[in-house]
Amino acid sequence: MGSIPNIQLGDYIVIQRQKYTKLQKFGSLDATATLGKEHLELKSLLDQPYGSTFKMCVKESKAGKRGAQRQHTLELCSENELRSIRDILNISSSGADNRDISDNGEAQALKSEDIEQMREACNESSKIIEKLVENSKTFHTRTEYSQDKYLLKKEKKYFEFVQIRQPSIRLMADIFHRQDAEKVMGIRVDTLSQIISYSSVSGFGSYLLYESGTNGLLPAAMLNSIGADTQATLVHMHPGNVPQKQALLALKLPLEQQQRCISVNLYSVLREFYQGDKAETRSDATTAQTEAETAAVTASEENDASTEEQSDIIEPNTKKLKLDESLNSNNKSAPLRWQLENKRAAALMNAKFDSLVMAAKEHPSNILQALLPLVKPSRPVVIFSTCKELLHETYMELKTTGKVTNLHVTSNWLRTYQILPNRTHPEVNMSGNSGYLLTGYTLK
């Protein structure tokens, strides 16, 4: 923390344009990113510090079905260009209300073709906005509020700067939830933050996570809280073929920290844990197709990430290991990587965990029954579900057994505010679902 790292090949980067953010892999110098109709060539990012702002410069424009598709290069920005659009335009005269405005669609004197032409000709978006303002018959008679709404609408369309930021849990939680909340099981920022709190995950201890698919966000958030150069470990169980790891990889954590996250298939590791060498003997003795693969293929139905994404998110050193594995697997006696990971996980399972976090698409009850005995007494249990009815049943079951105390089922309201002079109010729309958390502490 402190010094600003430079953007490197292989990094995941966050591209920010106005308030829009996107996670992107900077895989090669030829890589491009797509923002709506704009394609950005990323090569000029190389070795620039994170946090830098770049100007999108039109390189070519192809007619597409729905308007022009534009290719852009990116150019590191000067300080001057960073000043806000409002400063440049210096708008001041506002009408007191909107009484004289009739909304007949003729308020803007510029035709859309004109605007599009301007768009091609001008290299500074602020100029375009200035022209639009000049040509709007109603702009100066509108109230400041409408002016702002108007500017915002225009800015959004024409603003052409992007900032490149280093991925963090905070930025990724926002991006994932906004782009497709289902891919992170609907875990909203407030809920994610509370999972971290209630699970007590920190730089000391051994933690157990079961999740059926959050694009890597949940293991990444826990490993982030475990920290670099600490002793803590995370066993990350998943039902799928390959663990979803995008968020984990995007964090670019030190190798020693990455290795303290042990990702294992739920079925496979439980068999390892219950049956140990027996299981292995059997699997050695029978077909070379391992049970883990069988389990993985079936369970992967649960897995939302597409195959393409999955191949994308395999980290370089994993690839290398895979290669090693396939070499090894010719040499039939050496254990495969997943077997080694299962053994590491089983050792931690035998020593028991300092907390259990579950985010299951399945009914949590049976999974909890299998994992709860692996948790030490006086330790937190945190179960997330989007379906409160399932948590209610699980709550009642736990209450009956008496193995977990201080049981609570909670959800949240997250209300964001617009705070502007004379225009302060809660945002007009709010997210409806935080998901639900069932929390408690194990007893001896």
Binding site: Y267, Q275, E302, N429
Partner: protein, 316 residues
């Protein structure tokens, strides 16, 4: 005329709600012909995603009936203020049923009440006031936008409500409510960008025996200034609130339940043999009647500020 009272059959000139689905309702006028843009009188045909409706065919039909469209069907419902707020032509931002219900309750509007409203806007709230105060009360509604006032007046007439309402084109912040209304109102409602400017006029319009006041404002600063003015003029019971309605999305969901117990025992050779074919990990689906919030909820509509003018406060 379909807003005056409950009725059984669709008559010519009625506004009728053509109900296609929860998200698709349309207010149409039950007239056999309309005049098109070229000035020609043509048969009134209403287009829907399920095909067209010859509007003449619904005249005389019982409200609540199913009517055939060229590619499907719909229901015809008698409009009321709730359906009207969902289908009316928006001339301004409008207020919706949850806020409106609280406004009517807090303003204690009932048949016989005299209510002053500004601005009229799209007439969404006005329709509610009129339902609540007719047939013995009166609504005085003001808008500073002349075209809007005219449109509203015409609309109330066509809806059969003209006898209970007076529509004024007037800038009440500067000019106040007309002096004929001094001491005439049981309740005053303001939806204005600067409600504080109209509070002294509301004070004058309320009856000497006292009355209720409401201001609806999107921003907290408007409420703050409004309350400062109300306090100064001796209003009491001042309180501000938000009402946020949440819909429950109810559905039957099939959710996976997995079994892990089998992993405790070694597989028998038999099972292993089967597995090589296509056995899956044990998993079943169980049905649950579930409810959840929609992805996006209304997070804010406006602040409702209510106050009471106590009886016998000297007005000058």
């Amino acid at each position: 005329m379909s807003f005056l009272k409950p009725k059984t059959y669709i008559e010519q000139g009625d506004i009728v709600i053509l109900y296609l689905s929860v998200n698709s309702m349309h207010a149409i006028e039950a007239v056999p012909t309309i005049v098109n843009k070229k000035g020609e009188t043509i048969s009134h045909i209403f287009q829907t995603p399920y095909g067209s409706l010859k509007v003449e065919s619904i005249i005389g039909v019982e409200y609540g009936s199913r009517v055939e469209l060229s590619k499907g069907w719909a229901h015809v419902l008698q409009p009321n203020p709730e359906m009207w707020t969902q289908t009316l032509p928006h001339r301004t931002q409008i207020i919706y049923t949850p806020d409106i219900s609280m406004i009517l309750h807090q303003l204690e509007v009932r048949p016989g009440a005299v209510v002053v409203e500004s601005g009229t806007g799209s007439g969404s709230l006005s329709h509610y006031f009129l339902r609540a105060l007719k047939p013995t009360g009166r609504l005085h509604t003001f808008d500073f936008h002349e075209a809007r006032a005219d449109q509203a007046r015409e609309e109330f007439r066509r809806h059969g409500l003209g006898d209970f309402v007076t529509v004024y084109h007037r800038d009440v912040c500067n000019l106040g409510f007309s002096s004929e209304l001094d001491g005439a109102a049981d309740a005053v409602f303001l939806d204005l960008p600067a409600p504080d400017l109209a509070v002294p006029h509301a004070f004058k319009a309320l009856k000497l025996s006292g009355g209720r006041f409401c201001s609806f404002s999107p921003c907290i600063e408007q409420s703050q200034r409004c309350i400062a003015q109300l306090t100064k003029l001796g209003f009491n019971e001042i309180c501000s609130m938000e009402v946020l309605q949440q819909e429950s999305v109810i559905k039957t969901r099939s959710l996976p339940v997995i079994d892990l117990e089998f992993l405790k025992a070694p597989k028998s050779a038999e099972i292993i043999a089967n597995e090589d074919n296509k056995t899956k990990e044990p998993k079943e689906l169980k049905k649950y009647l579930t409810s959840s919030n929609p992805q996006v909820l209304p997070g804010h509509t406006g602040f409702l500020t209510f106050a009471t003018l106590p009886p016998n406060i000297p007005k000058s």
